[in-house]
Structure formats: C-alpha cells, structure tokens
C-alpha cells in the first residue's frame, strides 16, 4: 500500500535520512522504533508531504506521492497524528474536530463528529472547551479523533504515548489497535515505547541515525537480543 524507496531527507543543509526503504501493506500495523533523533518524525513528515525527499521515492497505492503537498496527500486518505498532540490550543474541541474533517462535505463532518463523540465520550463533555485547557491525555484523545475525522485509510501516529501515564498509554494503544483491526485502517506507528508498540504491531522496523538497521515480525523482534538490550531495556 505504501512503499518508500531509498529516500534521503535533509533540513536545509543537514541531512537526516540516509537512504531509507520500507513498505506497509494494506491492513497491517507496522511499528517504526528508534531512539531520540533517529529520524522517525522526519520519516512521517516526509510521507505526509511536509518535507520532500532529495532522492528516492514514496508510492501510495502505486502512485508517486513524494512531490505532493500535505493538503493533497490527506485527500488520498493518508492522515498524520503528529508528535506532541499539536491540537489547536485556542480552538474548541468541536472546532478541532470539525477542521479534522476539513476535506469532507459538511453533512459528513457532522456524522463523523457524532461517531467520534460516541467513541470518545470525554470529548463530548468538553466540546466547547478550548483544546489547550485540557489534560495531556484528553488532548491525545482529541488529536487521535481529529485525525480520524477525515476517514483515512492509512494513518501515521507519531509517539502517541509521549508524556502519558501508563494506564492512559495502554488505553491509547488499544484505540490504535482497534482502529487497525476493527476499522480496517492501515497504520504506521512511531514509538519510543518499543515494548508497547511491538505488543500491538504486526511488523516493525528499527531506525538508527537515519537508516534502518533491523526489520521483522513484531513477535520475532521482541525476542531479538539486540532489540531487547537496546530498546526493551532487558
């Protein structure tokens, strides 16, 4: 479904991704794990069009997308839930959700919004509250719901567990697993919390300093000595 071939990505003059290739098949939940600064967010930002690779290509359902703008990519059904939640702090919960469905017709937005409220009752209670005044966990729920609003068929999650209490992390991981299994959304999940990510993923890649160093079935990687030492703290 998504095929990244040997991309190189740089910010201004500093190169960050040195030839990275990966693929995600329809229906899969794939994890991308790696340490701080490895290039995980950069990879996701490149997929969603905020950055463009200086070499290599990205294909989605067989068509090149690496030259498209973010507003075109979301219209192909690829949605990105960014690192650090990034809800619009001075818009209300409802406004955040409604903009999440920016590309849909008005009627559809209202329907989607109701279904989000059904999935995330907390958001319904807070619908007219400013997003910036909610707790971190609530903001993460909002960020996920906002990303779901556009009815994506492919979702990118960037460290959704960051800064959340363990109980909430589990809840968030359940939600992501559900989105993948029940709603049939293909997922590429970036996490530093490798343990969590590998517990719900089908396959995983390990990225170090802008290059992939390992790939395999999530279950196998959890047994891998190197992964256990470097990422699972065992």
């Amino acid at each position: 479904m998504l095929e990244i071939k040997d991309i190189k990505v740089a910010y201004k003059r500093t190169q960050v991704i040195y030839g990275l290739s990966l693929h995600v098949d329809e229906g899969e939940l794939v994890a991308l794990i790696g340490a701080n600064g490895a290039g995980k967010s950069t990879t996701l930002r490149t997929i969603s069009g905020l950055l463009h690779p200086s070499a290599g290509s990205i294909q989605y359902r067989g068509a090149d997308i690496h030259k498209l703008l973010p507003e075109q990519i979301v219209r192909l059904g690829i949605a990105h839930c960014p690192e650090g939640r990034r809800v619009w702090p001075k818009l209300t919960v409802e406004e955040n959700l409604s903009l999440g469905g920016y590309i849909l017709p008005k009627q559809r937005v209202l329907e989607k919004m109701e279904s989000m409220y059904a999935h995330f009752p907390i958001l319904k209670d807070r619908r007219s509250q400013l997003a910036g005044s909610m707790s971190g966990g609530e903001q993460q729920m909002l960020a996920i719901a906002r990303t779901l609003m556009c009815q994506p068929s492919f979702m990118l999650f960037d460290e959704p567990s960051l800064g959340l209490a363990p109980r909430i992390v589990e809840q968030v991981m359940d939600i992501i697993a559900n989105i993948n299994k029940k709603e049939n959304v293909t997922v590429l999940l970036v996490e530093q919390n490798a343990n969590m990510a590998l517990s719900i993923a089908d396959r995983a890649y390990v990225i170090e300093s802008g290059q992939l160093t390992l790939e395999g079935k999530a279950a196998d990687l959890r047994q891998d000595d190197y992964v256990r030492k470097a990422y699972l703290g065992k």
Binding site: H80, W88, L99, I103
Partner: protein, 288 residues
Amino acid sequence: MLEFFQQLANGLIIGSTYALLTIGLTMVFGLMQILNYAHGEFYMLGGVVAFWVTQALHLNFFLSIIVTVAICFMLGLVFERILMRRLYEVPIVTTAIVTVGLSIFLQNSVFMLWGNVPRTIPTPFPLKPLTIGGLTFTSLRIFVLIVTIAVIVFTQIIIHRTKLGRAMRATFQDKDVAAMTGISIRKIYALTFAYGSALAGLAGVLCGSYLTISPFMGSSVTTKAWAIAIVGGIGNIPGAIFGGFLLGVVESLGAGYLSAAYKDAYSFIIVILVLVFRPNGLFSKKEL
C-alpha cells in the same frame, strides 16, 4: 465637558479607520512573518483608485468604494502571487527590505502617472454639519464610522463563524497541522494578504474623502499602523481594533487639549509607554 465629548467622538471616528488599517498589517505579520512596509501604499492606492474611478468612470461615491475595495483585493492577490509568496521562508529583515522597496516603487509609479497634486474624492454628502446631542459632525464622518464598524464586525464574523475563518485561525496556531488536515496554506496566505490590502484600500477611500490624496500619503500611515499593531500586540486582531480606537482618541484629545502640532507624536508616546510597561502589547497573545 461638551468639548471633551466632541474630541472623544472625533477620536473614535479617526480611530475606526486606524483599526481598519491595522487589521491587515497585524494579520499578515502574525500569519506569515512579513513586516509589510508597503501596507500604507494600499491605503494610498485605495484613495487614488477611488479618485480615478469617480473621475474617469463617473461612478458615484458609493459604487466607487465597492469597486476600489475589489480592485485593492485583486492587487493584493497579484502582489502576493509575484512578491509576498517569495518571502514566506526568509528572515524577517529581508521581508522589511523588500517591502520598503515595493513601497518606494508604488509611490513613485503613482507619482509618475498621476503627479503630486493633492486631491480629494468628491462625495454626495452635504458640508453642513449635523448636530447630535450638542455634538457636531459632518454626515460624511458618520458614514465613515458606520462603514468601518460594519466592516470590522464583518471581519470578526468571517474569522469566528465560517469554515474559512476556522481554517485561518488553525493556520495561525499551527500551520503544519493545518496543512495536514487539508487546508491550503497558500490559499489562506493569499486571501489574508488580499483581504488586508482591501481593508487598507477601504481606509484610503474613506480618509481620501475628507483628507487629501497624494502618492506619498502612505508612508506615515504605515508607521502609524505599526505603532497601533505594537500597542495592540502584533498578530492580534482584537488588539489592532482596540489600539486603533485608542490611538485615534489619544491623538484627538491631545490635539484638542495640548497642541495640534504634535498630533502624530502622541501615538508614539503611547507606543513607548506600552513598550516599557507591556512589551508584548496590550493584548499580548497572537489571536485572530
């Protein structure tokens, strides 16, 4: 006491045009980090275009306002397309230098084509003042006040009640995320710049109907709009509106009670006070 209220009312009328003028400037800076030194030239173009439209096309005053605002909006789109668009990723100082250049270019182009004879846009309003509750106004000034307030309210409605406005606020707060939800940042930038230019043009027509129009009338206006934007908090629209009215009133009271000769200095005294006591402006957060 009556004298005081008269000055206050005059100040509010002038202030309303200042508010109109500053909204665009502060939005463009808040959204795109462009220090637009050519903003006053759109004010000037508003006056010049409206004068030309009433003279050459014989349109009446009211129609000429509509046509001028539309033309300024279009000019805004054109300049965004050929110039501003190149300034979105460059250091702020560069944007200032380029727009100073644009300002010189526009002033002198109009000077070449139009000369430097001061003119005033003819209006159908009688010169005889009205008296309302002991205060005297020309009907033209009341018209100006009504139009500016209507446009300010209209702007607020667009920003707070429409999908476009919601998209603008989202872009203002986090443009990357806005782009990822499908909002075209380029379109938002272009519309914002054009809208700001149209508002400046409108202020130019309105002021050009009771002040004189000349190719160089924009420079002092740019400085004043910056002063107001700083007082209100740069990037903050409610701040720009409040700051506009505040400076109008201060100028008017200063001119009435102290000395009219230093009229323009009073605004800058306010700016200095604000910078000393509230360096981020009265309304310090960026907010549409």
